[in-house]
Amino acid sequence: MSTRIFGSGIKRREDPRLITGKAKYTDDIYLPGTLHMVIVRSPYAHARIRGIDTSAAKSAPGVVAVFTGADVTLNNVPCAWLIPNSDLKTVPHPPLAKDTVRYVGDGVALVIAENRYQAQDAAELIQVDYEPLPAVVNPEEATKDGAPQLHADAPNNIAFRWVASSGDEGVEQAFAEADVVVQERIVQQRLLPTAMEPRAALAQWNSATEEMTVWVTSQNPHIHRFVLGVITGLPEHRLRVIAPEVGGGFGSKIPTYPDEALTAWAAMKLNRPVKWTETRSENYQATIHGRDHVEYVEIAAKNDGTVTGIRGLVYAAMGAYLSTAAPGIPTILHGLMYSGAYTIPNIRCESIGVFTNTTPTDAYRGAGRPEATFLVERLMDKLAHKLNMDPVELRRKNLIPPFENGHQVAIGLTYDSGNYEAALQKALDMIGYSNFRQEQVQARQQGRYLGIGVTTYSEICGLGPSQVAGAIGFQGGLWESTIVRVSPTGKVQAMIGASPHGQGEETTFAQIISDELGIPVQDIEIVHGDTNNTPMGWGTYGSRTTPVAGAALVLATRKIKEKARAMAAHLLEAAVEDIDFEDGKFFVKGSPDKFKTIQDATLMATLAWDLPPGMEPGMEASQFYDPPNFVYPFGTHIAIVEVDPETGGVQLKRYVAVDDCGPQINPVIVEGQIHGGIVQGIGQALYEGAVYDENGQLLTGTMMDYAMPRADLFPKFELDQTVTPSPHHPIGVKGIGETGTIASTPTVYNAVIDALRPFGIEQIEMPLTPPRVWGAIQMAQGGA
């Protein structure tokens, strides 16, 4: 048997077009006669629009049209995650503001011109008469009486109030009877997703066929079509959405924004192709942000370290309107993860969604789970310190014991499989934990401040059973589908509804098919991104593409294999049950020399000259797959840092990650996902933060001000794995797209606090920039 393609780190099949500049991202597509659209955006966080003078812009060179909110005939932009039992206020979100703007970046007018320079010039000529109103940017402050109100039907700016609880009585009792309770107020700072490709849309209207084609930077073209149909009123069978090459998303290209609907509307109105491409500054104002919580959290335990309860009150900023999935992020994807990797009998999360005069928030890599993991891991470290226990020992004491087929946690979820202790031990061995503790003591004697942070995490991904989606108010399904088509000569096209945009499924999915069918990878093509030639699917996010779409692919491929087996049996004049299959060849058991290849079987099935009775011609299979449960990858991350007390600078010295996503289809791609995730999570711990001033001006409005992680800030990460298959997935795999981000923020944060232990510092607000760390040291030493 040849080396198995499954599990092999083959080179990516996406790369030749990407390393030569031949890839086509949305803005790279030029249609003859394309007009360029600029969206004029509000410079005020909150203001009444008294009037808009477009006359100068309309007569500027090259301008074809100028539109304001009064001209636009589109439906409001809907929210698609209507969490139940929460009194959710689905406030109207017009595609262009009509009378009131509610954040800096809210769209007020469209300028469409022959080229982008002319459109930008004319946009400068639009005169909007604003009457500024008081603004509020902090989600906790916004709920207080007297705070500026964003929406008439959302008193105190409260968008929803959601509770998940294992039983309030038990939770109360756990805290009342605890030997020790540790609390923290955590500010999960606002982050800018910053996919390297800004968003863009190109729309083409065919007035004769009444067909609309929209190329858009999307993680989920089928959802985009669904929602764009709602906003534009166009019927779905005449609405084609194409996500061409997409340059990263991290959640920010899940939502359907006003912008692509406006682009489509303008193309229809003007009967010419219209393109809109945001600038980076515009991206920072008008593309969703992530996180932005103020949390009050606490943990209850016995003196021996047994955790008995955890609870939190979360003020989660929604921004000015509800983005597509926003209400689900600080609730379902957050509160249900409070158990982490631990046995915690009593759990409660109350989450208050709050409108603020800021850019709407939504899913950003990890989406609710990084916030949950951060607070759990923060509280574990703080509790360990309070109990004078080693933080690793405290974790070990509370870890859920190994399980292979389902473990229900108190908050109600059933984790699929896990062996948390094994991953922890492996990571501890890699870093040399006990040696480090000695080294730390010696270093402190020399005036050097080393610290270590350990995170044992479990996370929920592979979203998810559709029945659950319905129960939690998600306005869609969460299944995936595929069509696998084998051509007469044995080449494979697999059409998938999910929409990879950097994750490499054109490679890993080809590996899955190749592994199942014995057809070489180079003969397999994965087709995705175009609603006209792919079957329905709900998209690429929540680390669900491989767990869900991958499962559909496995099952469809097995249908192909069984049909080919029947065809081969017919050709070999043998009974189907006597046919073995290996390396792409069917043969009668015991006679491997007399065989029919899968290509032979496919050709004969396609020619259909002599089919077995009852067999349909062709070699094609389709499969819908709705997973029975989520998947729960897990692992341990450990960081060692050194803090310079003179400058407050944090140097990351080592970073070890042991992750378990079940069997790995392509370990090189898995590692890449983890590397990127780690850096994104550390970005939150040490560097990144979107800052608004009290008037709602985004101070970090360009890449000059927003601290994106750079290559020189990181050591080489040390990675390893354990392999615990998911019991319910056909090939046992779990998602790996978000684990790095989920684990690395608390790991590095806790390492810094550990380093600062001699100063008695227990908390510093993220990001842990040198001024903040230095300031904390000064404060602790009784300075300014």
Partner: protein, 152 residues
């Protein structure tokens, strides 16, 4: 203004607005869309090309400044259908995911190795400070540059 710019070995003569950025000239006048735009403040490096052999950010250069000079873009890096060793190494070492920063990253890396044929890991990381990637965490990019440097 009339300009004559050699791009990937071909001379192009065009009449452009004085304010036109080189990156827009490449993308919109010549259709060379391999050079990407990732920011508007010269931070991200996605638009990195070579001007007379030196790496520059083409969003921070006017087309007229390139008049009479030679530009190499990602489309011009491979020769006679053979990938440049840097392109090979990015592919081999999984130095890219979504690919958007990649053309600029590769062009910057080629210039880096040209100036420093045997860079250490630290020198590579320092040298690529001006090129941002949100996907890879940089580790495999550094590995790719190191690998390519050994072959160049």
């Amino acid at each position: 203004m009339k300009v004559s710019i050699t791009v990937n070995g071909t001379v192009y003569e065009r009449d452009v607005e004085p304010r036109m950025l080189l990156v827009h000239f490449l993308r919109e006048e010549l259709g060379l869309t391999g050079t990407n735009i990732g920011c508007d403040t010269s931070q991200c490096g996605a638009c990195t090309v070579h001007l007379d052999g030196r790496s520059i950010k083409s969003c921070t250069c006017l087309a007229v400044q390139a008049d009479g000079r030679e530009v190499t873009t990602i489309e011009g890096l491979a020769t006679n259908g053979q990938l440049h060793p840097m392109q090979e190494a990015f592919w081999e070492k999984h130095g890219l995911q979504c690919g958007y920063c990649t053309p600029g990253m590769i062009m910057a890396s080629v210039a880096l190795v040209k100036n420093n044929p045997n860079p250490t890991e630290e020198e590579i990381r320092h040298g690529l400070e001006g090129n941002l990637c949100r996907c890879t965490g940089y580790q495999n990019i550094v590995l790719a540059v190191k690998t390519a440097a050994e072959k160049m």
